[in-house]
Symmetry: D2
Subunit: 268 residues, 4 copies
């Protein structure tokens, strides 16, 4: 085989370029980049000190020490031929201060997804800190909803919404981009990383808010042992240790938006 510079590759390379969210190949039916999204977001206030420990080099807290926990259901995803998947993200408001780039945005401390394929592309092409978990999102009563993240049968995070009340949808306001800290270890054992540093995924325009609701809610992370979560107990336990000073507003939103996430760039 020979690498064709007009295409993006991912492993395996033996079979040529790979299809994905930002690359169609012969045989793919083009369908555009829009998906349907329902998200359940809760914000809670913690201490600036606690959040400071989670920020990579050159990142600083931007404003109040507010953590956003967001469960997202994606359906009708074009690059998956109409299938969907769910995500459970922990995001922090940050300011990146590089030698050249000064950017504010939402830093993805970690995001769990329940499908391996978007995890692979997201980690390798975009630098998202994606891990795998089983995710469920279900009504919990007439005006209640419950989202849960588990791994091999161990529930490690839950997000509960009550008193869900439909409100008129607000138009999506201009958003900052999403900030990640991309990292790939050196494949030569013991060598320096093959990738390290901040990455910006620009915000997209044209978000259509189809529905919106307010709610009260709470989030809970479950202190977990290595036996229960051998591949990320440290992540969950760090989140469980965060002081919760106040649990802020909850919002449910149903959207249509482009999910191709094109145009990411390394920040310097």
């Amino acid at each position: 085989m020979r690498f064709d510079p007009d295409y993006t590759y991912r492993m395996p390379v033996a079979f040529g370029p790979m299809p994905g969210p930002r690359q169609a190949l012969p045989g793919c039916e083009p369908r555009g980049g829009e998906a349907s999204i329902t998200s359940y977001a809760l914000r809670f206030t913690t201490t600036a000190e606690a959040l400071g420990e989670l920020l990579p080099p050159r990142f600083a807290l931007n404003g109040e020490p507010v953590v956003t926990v967001e469960y997202t259901e994606l359906t009708d995803v074009p690059w998956l031929a109409g299938r969907g998947y769910d995500t459970f993200a922990v995001k922090l408001p940050v300011r990146f201060e590089g030698r050249h780039d000064k950017v504010t945005g939402s830093f993805v401390a970690v995001v769990w997804e329940n499908m391996a394929d978007p995890i692979i592309t997201g980690r390798e092409e975009l630098g998202y800190a994606k891990l795998f978990a089983d995710l469920t999102s279900r009504p919990a009563g007439p005006h209640a909803h419950r989202c849960e993240a588990s791994w091999d049968g161990h529930a490690f995070a839950e997000l509960e919404f009550e008193r869900i009340t439909e409100v008129p949808p607000e138009p999506a306001c201009a958003q900052d981009g999403v900030l990640n800290f991309g990292y790939v270890p050196g494949v030569d054992a013991g060598s320096r990383p093959d990738r390290t540093g901040a990455v910006l995924t620009p915000a997209v325009d044209g978000v259509e808010v189809v529905g919106q609701a307010t709610a009260t809610g709470r989030v809970r992370f479950v202190r977990s042992s290595w036996e229960q979560l051998p591949t990320f107990y440290n992540v969950v336990n760090a989140l469980e240790r965060l002081p919760v000073l106040s649990q802020g507003p909850c919002v449910v939103r149903r959207l249509r938006r482009d999910i191709e996430n094109r145009g990411q760039r390394r920040l310097v």
Copy 2:
């Protein structure tokens, strides 16, 4: 947070070093690196021409054009706290001829695994061409066995063994290492890859063969559409197109061996 050079990191980085197959953290119970393995391997002969199209730069076929298809069940995996997972690999006998390194080994064209966590560490730390699939391995009759790989309910590969006959286990012979072509795209959109090139995972000694059997068998890849396998239909269809000149010997082996895969190095 601050990067500690004594540890290996993977995304997420916000929570410090991550536990994994080659790194224990406080709270992990150390258990050594040995796992129990059952493997079902079949070899078939194809044409040198067809295999040549699958070889990355500086790789050449080593000997006969023989494809090994191997289904492996791993149980009692120490870094997963005793859990296990399965893999389904397609391997080719190759010679790597670099500027400095001349190495023969087994090239992993692609390997599917049914658990996201080893996929992430394997791709990023070792350069293995791992993808996700649902995998099953079940008895198919008194002396028969069937392994299947599917994705979202679509079976795309099956390996069937018949006339399985126990034979005295042969001692494991010295093996060549495993060769991969590590590739990570540039996280800066459109830039050069953040990692590209051959990687050697050295063979391990001390393999204990607990049981062995011979069998007759066949492998079948299923021609698949983008709708059925939107993330790797091209891989399966390339395998389905390989001419099968003869289906070679089949072997079942039950082993105990170290699975840490330490000491991988980039070939030049």
Copy 3:
């Protein structure tokens, strides 16, 4: 506890009446009985002799020896609080000739479902011959679709549709009822059955056909061993042995209809 004659019970009885498709309890939000249904039906002709062997006492073939294989997706099911499940049925056109009842209808030789709860209620309250299987229904190309039934990873039946072409929906015609042969063994070991005999589930009116398509297609049952299907290999192998004289027309239908299946009665 005391049995309340105004309610239907199922095991467990210790907790009082059980909620189900035909019974709401305090705490259930009433939602009516309508669900959304997509069905993929194929008919094939076999021999009258082969079908005769599948008919219980007092059942006779009604008309041509035509087998209907039908995969059904149910969504928005009221008694499951909006969830859904799939079914895969094998049906035969029959005439029941009892001492008093003379009825024609569609005999459910067997139906697999991918959820235990409707299996339990369907077997015990209606006498449906329901078994469990994993079921998938997916696009297989731009105008193709594939449904599969498997058990513990072993695919034992597949239904493939090609050249799917939308046509104007025909109004639902008046249908015969569904005939089952209800059977519950005697709980006293070795005694006579606690239930045995034909049951009629009346057809429902008010079916709204939302969409319709024609297609060409084929069905395949896979000869299976006891090791592969220890709880119903005999059923699948009997279906696999049916001669296929011609594969008839295929139809895809999207409906809204009542699925409560009330008013079943034992035939005499």
Copy 4:
């Protein structure tokens, strides 16, 4: 088809007798009736009044009002060709006082299982009050274990063991039988039940206790809405309401025993 009185039938009847735990058919490899079992049992004391409300007609509490919650892993199950499944049972000590039969035993108020096939045979052939749930049983730390029951992603019961300490296995003592209240509704809508009444499954001899441990522990049932558990929210909520006066001893046992459960008889 014609019913053969030498065999047991279950639905479907069209294909002849069905294989199962107590009946092998041609093509089944006979393997005996022994399986390997690991069980996690906890006892808690509640009030006699509360338990009285759960007892069917002619059942009375036998001794102290003690509830046994028991999670069981079955592996190497002969009639499933070596597969296994898990169960989660709630049992009460009872005395049955019939017109003729006076029996003491363990009454199965409800038992969840994570596989549909044993649910079907157990309900219909033995009268066990089996329901479906997803079940997990995992180490939760060096000397801790956690069992969980969920349905469609909603965890409704958990059993946690700590300070698990191996002790010398005690020989299995002679046990009372298992008592169920078998109930099958009338298939003729609105008619009397096709089966109703107490059933005794005799205790088996020859239980080999392979290992044993003591532990401290706790059980928790989660108050659940109809939306979360539309098919058995009432059952879980009744268990959640039981007063817990003291949480008694916990025991882990690893056994080999016959699981055929032959010889059940209706009590009068």
